[in-house]
Symmetry: C2
Subunit: 568 residues, 2 copies
């Protein structure tokens, strides 16, 4: 493609709306434009990347036995009501009515549609297993769409659904997908990590996420350098260190006056004891009921673990008015002693002796509090976020943390949707059985953004060769010099003939502008035709991720490029 | 692909909901399933056909200089208001609101989005021409979705938009697209015709439709066998025959009692004079005003021509109550003489002498009425549908009619949208100029259905090779016979190695079932491995559109298949 014909409107300024680097670069490099909050038009360069990602995904899905279909975006309200998710989904689902006042959703996911489809077509155990997938727009009405393609309202997903006879069949399908996903991210050329994940609202009992590593990632991964353990911090188990529980040294509980001391830091300063010897008490409303959660002052609550322990649908922090009415004290003076709401205690709190906590009376705290003696929690469970330095639940070594972007997620669903939508097959004994399902998603547009988030430098994007919009860009330094133009045209045609995807920058721009654009849009290989090298009948070849400039004989350039593409 | 693994749930019964053959066959052959009225899931076989159509379209668009992008389906209300089409589009547009109560449309077309995009990125005459296209779902909330993919509510379109400096540039872009469209339908292997078309609500001043010929087609094409003229009946001009106007023989107008005579046929029987000597008077409401239309009793009104002549936005037939109130007579007794509403007369009525028409008094008619003498119309214009036997407006020979399915439509838009959305470029003199636009659509999913509508027989679909889901199906007659299975497997692997798309029917079904399915799903080439031919080391090769069965030496089958694919 000649650059003069190619629609890639680059920008010199960093758009003010863009907070993260992928968002900035995709706008600046002319890959996309916003049409409304969280909704984008993909320009030609971005679409080429998307198609390459899609093709790699498609090939691996097909190889794993998946069959591609295409389901509707507009999905009838009835089947969402049948599964119970019409009301559960809340404001995140775009809804509309047709001219006959029938309700529809813009599909955020397709379990309802595909389970209904499969129910109609699968009758016998002979029809299973079945792996069906699609690549298609999905919709989520985010409160605050942001970060460009990372958290959009219209985005492209691959979603595969597996249908099996039983849990053993599901295991096989799940492993196939796990393997296929690894093959995909290997081929995409991205640094990634597979982590154990929480299954969330979608249900099910085993789940892994595929994380592209990037400092700006929204997800925190805890992992072990000794063994293979890696998990989303939302899921990662916090074990207790192997050291023995402390020797009993319980002292008498004392009520102390703590005027104006509300935060853990206040109390650290006031009492002179570290945050790890304080207790913080958080108040939540779980399905309408007020509950208290206690954990060490230096720890973070993990709401997903709490939700799983509470087995509730709806969970949010209580407001101070509600709390004060029930507990007669405000935030900052709450504590488990004498509290008249159920207490959920993090595991670690059991190990603490003589800790400090609120006295449920404004401006008073207790010290030397001890669990069991001074109060009894409803449940003691793992409720906090894992942190670097925690011990690996598998091998006991210290854990590390790293940030990542969730680009893929695989789930075992079991019979959640087949039960709700009555999808059964007849087994060999003539008995009806629920179909056992799994679902497997990849964010296609998010993977594009994640690639940019991981692969960039101060000058722009650095596309991995497998998904670069073009593999090569040829820049004649001076477009007015016939010999340069001729040499550039020669290489352009030869490379095209070899099936290489190449841009010839034939624009009447200064060389500096062309180099800047080439770096910004991130083409992996740059061939420069300049006066000096041309005199020696050579071209300059440079890799986008490398500072080195190779001088290559004109006759060898094509082969050099082909070899580089092959070997990367 | 092995048939045992392939998801193509065929049906023996014709689904009662399906009125036309493509709808019936696509359901029966397991190509698609309905999820709600006018909304379908494409199963693996259909998706393969769609992808092939898309690829042919994409290749020709790229060849013509088009650049592929991907625009959003959810489009903000503001830009539709800016173009004036938010209200104009009426009930056919799906609308929704997001959680912040902002309005969106599900895009029925993308002029607003792309004009806004181009306005933001195109600044100079040097940036034009620009041809951008996408392949993407479109939405139309049909009152009565029907005919399967022919008139769906969610469907797949290719839409290209051209942006040029001036009308001359638009001519060039338009011709490129015209040529590309012909290349596409040639490659698809369908019988089609290019016809002149009305530009309709989308605006503009030149327009062609690409029609796949089929008896069930909703569109009527009039065409000339002598010259190249062909037009949609909605658009086709009706010339007057070259014969001289009749000699003046006007007789005295007479009022006659016609009790109970209301239709043209009634009057033919009652007066003994043919329908071509009667006048029918139709009453319409155009933008709120009552108007009368008169044309020969044997002709059909063309509402599109009428709308164009009236230059109105809104046109519908008046109800009898409205008419009676204004004209003091009911339908069947109306006529132009003494009528107190504006009269729009079809061209032909000027040639008539001494005709019969209603007297604007129930149960009375006039005879020997003459235009000019007895009444004066507001406008005399071409207002009727062309018919077989009319004269060609180009060469004067008689016209023929044939039915077709509109699958492509190209328009010159001019500056309609660039004016509304203020999309300009700066010309060489530093002056701002409106960008001149064209738009060019192809119904991808509709083309799939049109192909089936045109290519089928009593046994099923007959896919053209270029878009068949698979090119070859291999059927071992008896799956229990090792030698047949072995020979079938051998051919299967050899063909796959040659890049042929092949199904091996390895199912444990009777041969009859396999043959029936192969015919139903319409695979172009069938290779049968039967006991008799196998004894001679031969296979039977049959084309789906041909009764002949060829016996081909086993060693020659692959080459025979490759040759057939190449030559068709």
């Amino acid at each position: 493609m000649k650059a003069s014909q190619l629609f890639f409107p680059t920008l010199r300024e960093v758009p003010s709306e863009a907070e993260i680097i992928s968002h900035q670069l995709l706008l600046r490099a002319g890959f996309m434009r916003k049409t409304s909050a969280g909704v984008y038009t993909y320009l030609p360069m971005a679409l080429r990347v998307l198609k390459k990602i899609e093709n790699i995904v498609r090939e691996e899905m097909d190889k794993a036995g998946g069959q591609e279909i295409l389901m509707p975006i507009i999905q009838p309200q009835e089947i969402w009501e049948k599964s119970g998710r019409w009301s559960l989904y809340g404001n995140e689902m775009f809804r509309l009515k047709d001219r006959h006042d029938r309700g529809f959703a813009l599909g955020p996911t397709h379990e309802e549609i595909i389970t209904t489809l499969v129910d109609g077509e699968v009758h016998s155990y002979r029809d299973l297993p079945l792996l069906l997938y699609q690549i298609q727009n999905k919709y989520r009405d985010e409160i605050r769409p942001r970060f460009g393609l990372m958290r959009g309202r219209e985005f492209i997903m691959k979603d595969l659904y597996s249908f099996d006879l039983d849990e053993a069949g599901l295991d096989v399908s799940y492993k196939k997908m796990y393997k296929a996903y690894k093959a995909i991210y290997d081929r995409l050329g991205l640094d990634y990590r597979v982590v154990e994940a929480d299954s969330g609202a979608i249900g099910g009992n085993e789940s892994h996420e595929f994380m592209v590593l990037a400092e700006s990632g929204e997800s925190v991964i805890v992992y072990c350098q000794k063994c293979d353990y890696a998990a989303n911090v939302e899921k990662a188990e916090c074990g207790l260190e192997k050291q023995e529980p402390p020797v009993n040294n319980q002292q008498e509980m004392i009520k102390i006056s703590t005027p104006g001391q509300r935060t853990i830091q206040d109390l650290v300063d006031f009492t002179g004891r570290p945050a790890s010897e304080q207790i913080k008490t958080l108040m939540y409303v779980a399905d309408g009921e007020l509950v208290a959660v206690i954990l060490r002052g230096d720890r973070e609550l993990n709401e997903i673990k709490l939700k799983n322990v509470l087995q509730c649908q709806d969970l949010f922090m209580a407001d101070e008015m509600t709390v004060r009415e029930k507990c007669q004290a405000g935030f900052g003076s709450l504590g488990p002693v004498g509290l008249n709401v159920p207490i959920y205690a993090d595991l670690e709190t059991e190990r603490l002796q003589n800790f400090t906590c609120g006295a449920n009376e404004d401006d008073y705290h207790f010290t030397n509090v001890n669990l069991g003696r001074d109060f009894v929690p409803e449940i003691i469970a793992d409720l906090r976020n894992a942190e670097a330095g925690d011990i690996c639940p598998v091998c006991g070594e210290p854990l590390y943390t790293i940030r990542g972007i969730e680009v893929g997620h695989i789930f075992k669903l079991g019979t959640k949707y087949s039960d709700a939508l009555d999808a059964t097959y007849r087994d060999q004994n003539g008995q009806d059985q629920a179909i056992v399902m799994g679902c497997y998603g990849i964010g296609i547009s998010r993977t594009l953004a994640a690639a940019v988030e991981q692969k960039n430098d101060a000058d722009g994007i650095i596309w991995p060769l497998a998904i670069a919009p073009y593999q090569v860009i040829i820049i004649p330094v001076n477009n007015k010099k016939d010999d340069q133009v001729e040499a550039a045209n020669y290489l352009y045609k030869e490379l095209l003939n070899q099936g290489v995807e190449v841009i010839l920058d034939d624009r009447d721009e200064r060389a500096g502008v062309k180099f800047k654009d080439a770096d910004l849009i991130g083409i992996p290989l740059r061939i420069t035709i300049g006066p000096k090298s041309l005199q020696e009948n050579k071209a300059e070849v440079k890799k986008r991720w490398d500072e080195e400039i190779l001088l290559v004989e004109m006759d060898h350039v094509v082969q050099h490029v082909l070899d580089t593409i092959k070997n990367v």
